[in-house]
């Protein structure tokens, strides 16, 4: 978190802060609506407006697995310290949905601000809230002549109301609306009018509140707001993907769709306009991964993206890619499982599964992006790594990274060149003469391959998922089999050096060590700040960015006593991998687990660590 200014720890949820001076640039607004009503645009506008004021923000969408009419929540967190993880409780709730109103109100902390649509006002029975009743349904009528559009326009009204209540600059609201409806002038106008109407009405009718204010800052200069799926789609395009095969599934569809948009825009041949890539919407995930390895075998840089159910369906072919050593990339945008689970909720529950996907002994390298820049870079790099290692490489993101709005520094252009790995061209073959597809010439477990279509007489070989010799001929001989499996272990060890190294943050005087990965990072960083501020507990932190683990991770684990592994699943999947890699430290590797479908929050980590530390102390 390089943007952390005046590091100010999380305020906690300790009830009403009856302060005379308002809290500046630190609040959480949750909007409770019904999905399919267009509230998503309003929420993005709200977030964008705050961002435009130079205040760090994040937006988290808790939407249902249906298309229209079920409760949905959107949370904007504005925080000058740059803490953008989900926070458990909201400071401000905009309550628009009768379906969830009872639980929405019940969930509020004492003293919270409730902006509520008039028709629901009767649900408010608590006396410990600051309630602002707004007749949204009446206000929308004059603003929007077309009755069918009102359901949507009503949402932008609450943005105006919030602008007044929270001191959001209306110019930034207007900018954000202009952005959102850049291609539709009339919609921009309608929404601007509605926002102003909301703002004006609120200014006239609502009392002021003195808990929170938002004030222009300069903490978002040059930053972008993006979703991980867009970043990863961009990464694939710049990474030189040539074949993308996919099957729609939440939350990975938007990754593929973003990638397709970028490909169409930037990867047509400049002269002929013809495509330098192929995209196939496959009939299922069995086909999409089969297409990917068919393409990878023939020399394409091929990838697919999917989520849990797709990962399961890809199991058989994952083993083929491992054993026949075919480059392939699967991006797993993890959602809550098992089974169909909660398709629109986040999770890190496929880590262990993907790591050793398929029957029999096999293991796959994986990249674990933890922010937007890494979604971009690792998606691109996965294509290199797959060709370098001649194997299936996973990129493990999740719904929180993939579909929520994250602030980021703009991405640096890729510095690593396109790496095709150990491919022997006809010229190479003419030079070296010999070729044995599965011979470990370099001792790193990675052998040389040729591409179909090569004309050198020695270049053709036969690829199979059955036992084979170094020369790629069929073999059932025990020594050939075991030798080959051992070489694959060697190759996996090579991968330890090639996957991204962890990011390690050491603090002088640290007494606690944390390991985490992926979307947990902001919550971990915030938890560290809280632990330092509230408990005086200093922490060392290793953020894992790839598997299998390399020397830095071993060293971190071996040089710390207890290590807390934070992850978003029930079965401690990553901790299990670490325990098995470091059996001597297994008893010292503890888990902090979060698996209710919401993105992990800092308090859960703090509580987990404090409970763990208590347990460690002699009583």
């Amino acid at each position: 978190m390089s943007i952390a200014m005046e590091p100010r720890a999380h305020r906690g949820n300790l009830g009403v802060e009856a302060s005379a001076t308002p809290v500046v640039n630190d609040l959480v607004v949750t909007v409770a609506t019904s999905n399919g009503t267009g509230s998503q645009s309003a929420n993005l506008i709200l977030m964008r407006a705050i961002f435009g004021m130079g205040i760090p923000v994040s937006g988290k969408n808790m939407f249902p697995s249906n298309i229209q009419g079920l409760p949905t929540w959107f949370t904007v967190r504005a925080n000058a310290s740059g803490w953008t993880a989900r926070r458990r409780e909201a400071d401000v709730l905009v309550a628009m949905n009768v379906e969830s109103i009872a639980e929405d109100i019940a969930s509020l902390r004492s003293g919270a601000i409730l902006v509520i649509t008039k028709s629901l006002a009767s649900y408010v029975t608590r006396g410990d809230l600051k309630v602002f009743v707004v007749p949204f349904d009446e206000l929308v009528v004059p603003v929007c002549k077309d009755a069918r559009l009102r359901k949507m326009v009503v949402n932008i009204l609450y943005v105006g109301v919030l602008a007044h209540l929270l001191d959001i600059e209306m110019d930034e609201v207007k900018n954000a609306i202009g952005r959102q409806f850049a291609k539709k002038g009339s919609a921009a106008k309608l929404n601007t009018d509605a926002a102003i109407a909301g703002f004006d009405w609120a200014r006239e009718h609502l009392p002021r509140q003195n808990e929170f204010t938002l004030r222009r800052a300069n903490l978002t200069e040059g930053k972008i707001i993006i979703e991980g799926n867009q970043a990863a789609g961009l990464g694939l395009m710049f990474g030189g993907i040539t074949v993308l095969a996919w099957y729609p599934i939440t939350p990975s569809s938007s990754l593929c769709e973003a990638c397709i948009d970028y490909l169409e825009e930037y990867r047509a041949d400049p002269e002929t306009g013809k495509a330098t890539y192929a995209v196939i919407q496959a009939e299922d995930e069995l086909a999409s991964i089969a297409m990917v390895i068919g393409a990878g075998w023939a020399g394409a840089r091929a990838a697919t993206a999917t989520a849990g159910p797709g990962i399961s369906l890809m199991s058989e072919i994952a083993g083929l890619a491992y054993f026949a050593e075919i480059p392939a990339v699967i991006i797993d945008v993890q959602r809550m499982g098992p089974s169909t689970g909660l398709p629109t909720r986040t999770c890190q529950g496929d880590i262990w599964k993907a790591y050793q996907l398929s029957h029999g002994d096999c293991k796959h390298p994986m990249l674990l992006p933890g922010n937007m820049a890494e979604c971009f870079e690792f998606a691109a790099e996965s294509l290199n790594l797959a060709e370098r290692l001649q194997t299936l490489v996973f990129v493990m993101t999740d719904l929180d990274l993939g579909m929520n709005s994250w602030m980021s520094a703009p991405f640096e252009p890729l510095t690593k060149p396109i790496d095709r790995g150990k491919v022997l061209s006809d010229e190479d073959l003419a030079r070296v003469g010999e070729f044995a597809r599965y011979k470990d010439i370099d001792g790193d477990g990675i052998c040389y391959r040729t591409l179909p279509g090569s004309s050198h007489p020695n270049s053709a070989y036969f690829t199979r998922g059955t036992g084979h010799t170094e020369a790629a001929t069929y073999s059932e001989k025990p020594a050939d089999w075991a030798g080959n499996l051992d070489r694959l272990t060697r190759k996996f060890d090579t991968a330890r050096k090639l996957v991204p190294k962890p990011v390690i943050k050491m603090t002088a005087g640290a007494t606690v060590a944390i390991i985490a990965f992926g979307s947990s990072d902001p919550a971990v960083e915030e938890a560290r700040a809280i632990l330092a501020a509230e408990e005086g507990t200093k922490t060392d932190y290793l953020r894992l960015r790839g598997l299998p683990i390399g020397s830095e991770v071993f060293e971190f684990i071996n040089t710390h006593q207890i290590v807390y592994v934070v992850e978003q699943n029930r079965d401690a999947q990553c901790a299990s991998i670490l325990r098995l890699e470091c059996p001597d430290r297994a008893p010292l590797i503890r888990s902090i687990l979060h698996y209710n479908g919401l993105p992990i929050d800092a308090r859960s980590i703090v509580e987990g660590i404090l409970a763990g530390e208590k347990r460690s102390k002699p009583s």
Binding site: G240, T242, I280, W297, S454, R464
Partner: protein, 360 residues
């Protein structure tokens, strides 16, 4: 008598004078250049006869062996890709997924001629969905089904193409299920080259294979190929004796490649000529049937009648060139995607900056 002059695409064929006629083909390669490893199938297996026909067809049509990609799933049939065209890369994948693998491979390198060899289990059971979707896409591939009505490699269980009433080896079990007709389904999925043949009729198989090589999109050839070990007994309609006794060709098939500088004389009353995209011709000489393979509904009726009455009709069942092949639909660059240089697959940094602007 009518005549057609066969066009020659001189650009591909080397000078005629250089050929050793008979022994070598238009590329000056001998038959042995098209051979593969030794078969490990049961001696007499129908699949081996098809392998020989493949070797012959590629030889006669004159395709550079290394310009071919050979793919298959799992099964005795799937193994055969190792027994022809040693100079071509081969891929023996997993059961039932070859069709999808081939689609990926073809997109990666559209210059390669793709041949996929499958079994009736591989295609009509586990692979059915993916097979039909490949056909629907019209992926350019010569897709062979070596159809023995059983799962050879797992020891002879009925497959989904076993005819109703077929008896299992050793007696007892009778198949009660209606067979799946991969030809009829292929026509339903819009396939433009659909044929049925018999491994014991190499002349027809070779002609059909060459026709398929000249066809632009998916070509499906369902070849009855007896499993001598598990399904060659009385009570099987996929045995040699049964197929030999019952084969009823729809027409006498001939193939005239585009590079043959000859005039074909034919009697339009008895022979139909079908022209393929590269200029090659298929000639269909009338036998007992009055059959027009460009008539979709006649084709489906014929297949249904054959299935119900357990007739064994062979030949070119359906032909239609109207659907563009998959790689053309995709409007790809002509070069293989597999070997595009880095400069063509990574836009400049300026593109990244332009895109990121939108997210500010």
């Amino acid at each position: 008598m009518t005549s057609a002059t066969i066009p020659s695409d001189g650009s591909e064929a080397p000078a005629i004078g250089a050929r050793k006629p008979g022994l070598s083909n238009r590329l000056n390669l001998e038959l042995k250049a098209y051979k593969g490893g030794e078969s490990t199938l049961c001696s007499g297996c129908g699949h081996d006869a098809i392998t020989s026909a493949i070797i012959k067809a590629f030889f006669e049509y004159g395709i550079e062996p290394h310009h071919v990609a050979k793919l298959s799933g799992i099964g005795c049939s799937a193994k055969t890709t190792a027994y022809f065209l040693n100079r071509a890369h081969g891929f023996n994948g997993v059961h039932g997924r070859m069709a999808a693998m081939a689609a990926g491979s073809k997109l990666a390198n559209r210059k390669l001629v793709h041949i996929g060899v499958s079994g009736d289990g591989d295609t009509a059971s586990i692979g059915l969905g993916n097979f039909l979707h490949m056909v629907r896409r019209n992926v350019p591939i010569l897709y062979l089904i070596e159809n023995n009505g059983c799962y050879g490699l797992t020891k002879g269980q009925f497959s989904a193409t076993a005819d109703r009433g077929s008896v299992k080896k050793g007696g007892g079990t009778v198949n009660e299920m209606t067979p799946i007709d991969c030809c009829a389904l292929s026509i339903e999925m819009g396939c433009g080259y659909v044929a049925r043949s018999f491994s014991g009729d190499p002349k027809q198989v070779v002609a059909l294979l060459k026709g398929a090589l000249a066809h632009g999109g998916t070509a499906v050839i369902d070849i009855v190929s007896p499993c001598v070990t598990f399904n060659n007994h009385e009570g099987s309609t996929k045995s040699y004796p049964y197929a030999k006794a019952h084969e009823d060709p729809l027409h006498e098939l001939g193939f005239v490649p585009f590079f043959d500088e000859v005039r074909v004389d034919y009697d339009p009353g008895t022979t139909t000529v079908v022209k393929l995209p590269d200029g090659s011709l298929i000639t269909l000489k009338k036998l007992g049937h009055d059959y027009d393979p460009t008539n979709r509904s006649q084709a489906l009726d014929l297949l249904n009648k054959a299935s119900v009455e357990q007739q064994f009709l062979t030949g070119l069942v359906y032909f239609d060139q109207s659907t563009p092949p998959f790689d053309e639909q995709m409007d790809l660059v002509p070069e293989p995607l597999a070997t595009l240089p880095a400069s063509r697959i990574r836009p400049p940094a300026s593109a990244l900056h332009a895109i990121l602007e939108r997210f500010r």
